[in-house]
Symmetry: C2
Subunit: 149 residues, 2 copies
DNA sequence: GCTTGACCTAAACTTAGGTTCAGGAATTAC
DNA sequence: GTAATTCCTGAACCTAAGTTTAGGTCAAGC
């Protein structure tokens, strides 16, 4: 264990449960920007644990790395984020989650309306082109899901 | 428009909204098995439209191609599926959807419990290792999500 | 002071769900 | 009957989110 000047990448990995390669990957994606020591090894602060934890929660909620990066860009620059900062930006997840749940509930209603008939008609069932938001829950073909370029 | 002996792949594409390449891809994955005409071109029946529609709905609900294949394996062999057949197997989606919604609701509760504090603690927040089922809603690192080999 | 384990980078590989391309063959339209 | 579409196959390419590997450097234990 490195005692002075921060945690090594291995320390951070064992504290978060992430793999070392994943932490390096998140850095490459711009989600975390550690210092380096004289030997060019990464050194992390305690607050980076919270940063990675946030990434994990956000992923569970279904955000992509790009989206997480955008959200984290709203953290204060120039100082270590406080608990209040994290609490504030976590609140957005509530909304995202609500939307996703609502979308699936609408899907369920449409499905209920359709189950009886078995028609599966593209025109009639309204199970298609359902919600523009939160696409990519299932991946699916771009054209139909609404990702068309 | 081909009048006799079935639809061409292009016809099927325009009737379903899928791309021709996607239809060929689903065939490669074993989801659909068209006949061929004398010139080796694929010929489809009307019932294949329903088949593809089913695939689309299943994807929206979040099933992978492999899972869809498994579900469709329960259709009757040797005869064209009826509406009743489709209706029956569509019913399973209800359950899948219910589970997914329940999972997201549990997630929301946990999040609510955590939003106030901003701690994002891996130990305390219980936002981790949440539900074994329906993993891969967000992709995330295997190790944490529970996909470990 | 040297060996072992942790760390470094860059590049290649992985899975899912497709798309795009190259080089031909079949069909359709006029 | 010929030109324009559509279709065929196989292989390469794409994105996301990482993992694995190769070849080398750093740090820690004894």
């Amino acid at each position: 264990m490195a005692m002075k000047r921060g945690l090594s990448i291995g320390d951070l990995a064992s504290r978060t449960g992430l793999s070392v390669s994943a932490i390096r990957f998140y850095e490459k994606k711009g989600l975390i920007t550690p210092d380096r020591n004289d030997g060019n090894q990464r050194r992390y602060e305690g607050s980076d644990i919270r940063r990675l934890s946030f990434i994990l929660i956000a992923q569970q909620i279904g955000l992509s790395i790009e989206q997480i990066k955008d959200v984290m860009a709203q953290l204060p620059e120039g100082r270590t984020p406080t608990k209040a900062d994290w609490s504030k930006i976590s609140r957005r997840f509530r909304k995202t989650l609500d939307e996703r749940i609502a979308m699936m509930e609408r899907m369920r209603e449409r499905l209920d309306g359709c189950i009886g008939c078995g028609c599966l008609s593209l025109k009639a069932c309204s199970l298609y082109n359902p919600d523009d938001k939160a696409r990519r829950l299932g991946v699916g073909p771009r054209f139909v899901i609404g990702d068309a370029r």
